[in-house]
Amino acid sequence: MEEFQIIDNCLMVRLPQEVDHYRASYICEKADRYLLQENVQHVVFDFEDTKFMDSSGIGIIMGRYKKIACFGGRVYAIHVDKQIQRILTISGLHKIIEILV
């Protein structure tokens, strides 16, 4: 399965098992390249494989949100488990992104 995929006007980002600072810089860089080059309006983060996330993951989502929100884009988080949901809630991100379990 591709980590990055463009479906219609959505960029799908399949996050790795562990989202930490080490992985985050790679994901940010790659996602931004897609945002610049392709006609992307919304970003979807897929947490299907993700077992662990720390504040670096929040940084990834927040950064992408800032880049697309001014053009009316939305950020979605899908396949969110309890732990990830908790992190999104504590950070307040659940107020600005759509979370689908």
Binding site: C28, S55, S56, G63, Q83, I90, S91
Partner: protein, 183 residues
């Protein structure tokens, strides 16, 4: 029902009168590649206490935040080695430095201490404010200390500029499911 059983679980100390004590110390290079090593090591260390998945996730996240802070702020090693051990082009040199991670289990209380000899924090209360970051270009969230506070029972930060920083955290294990999970 299951939840009730969990919370009423008697710890082993009640039967023997002796509290379990176990300690470990790790010292590793301050590079990003060691972040996952550190949190997995702590998770393995507490495994004999049968922590819940939630407790384990909390501990791992808190350790990850503290260790990452030491590496990218204390020693300013912003990138790790690549997947195949290559040095990224944006990364001319690696600042030498070690992170010391100490864990102490006392009964059902876990103490974690993360220490570095890095550049230190000039204003700790400012650093602990949610969303405050000194490195906005890294697109990190500024939520590190907020997460440590949220996931652990107790957080203490001691720091001296150019000397280093010590983060001490405490968590009682076996208190059952998250309080927040009811909403």
């Amino acid at each position: 029902m299951v939840l009730e059983k969990e919370t009423n679980k008697e710890c082993a100390c009640a039967q023997t009168g002796v509290r379990m004590k176990n300690e470990m110390e790790l010292v590793f290079d301050a590079i990003a590649n060691n972040e996952s090593f550190a949190r997995v090591a702590v998770a393995a260390f507490v495994a004999p206490l049968n922590p819940t998945l939630e407790e384990l996730a909390d501990i791992k996240t808190a350790v990850s935040e503290a260790v990452t802070n030491s590496i990218i702020h204390g020693y300013e090693n912003l990138y790790g080695y690549g997947r195949r051990g290559e040095v990224p082009s944006a990364y001319p040199s690696i600042n030498p430095g070690k992170v010391r991670l100490r864990c102490l289990l006392e009964g059902d209380v876990l103490h974690i201490e993360v220490e570095d000899k890095g550049k230190g924090i000039p204003d700790i209360s400012q650093a602990m404010e949610p969303l405050f970051t000194t490195k906005p270009q890294l697109e990190r969230s500024g939520m590190g200390f907020a997460f440590m506070e949220a996931f652990m029972d107790d957080l203490e930060v001691e720091s001296e500029v150019n000397r280093g920083t010590v983060v001490r955290m405490k968590k009682k294990l076996g208190v059952g499911a998250w309080i927040g999970s009811e909403d």
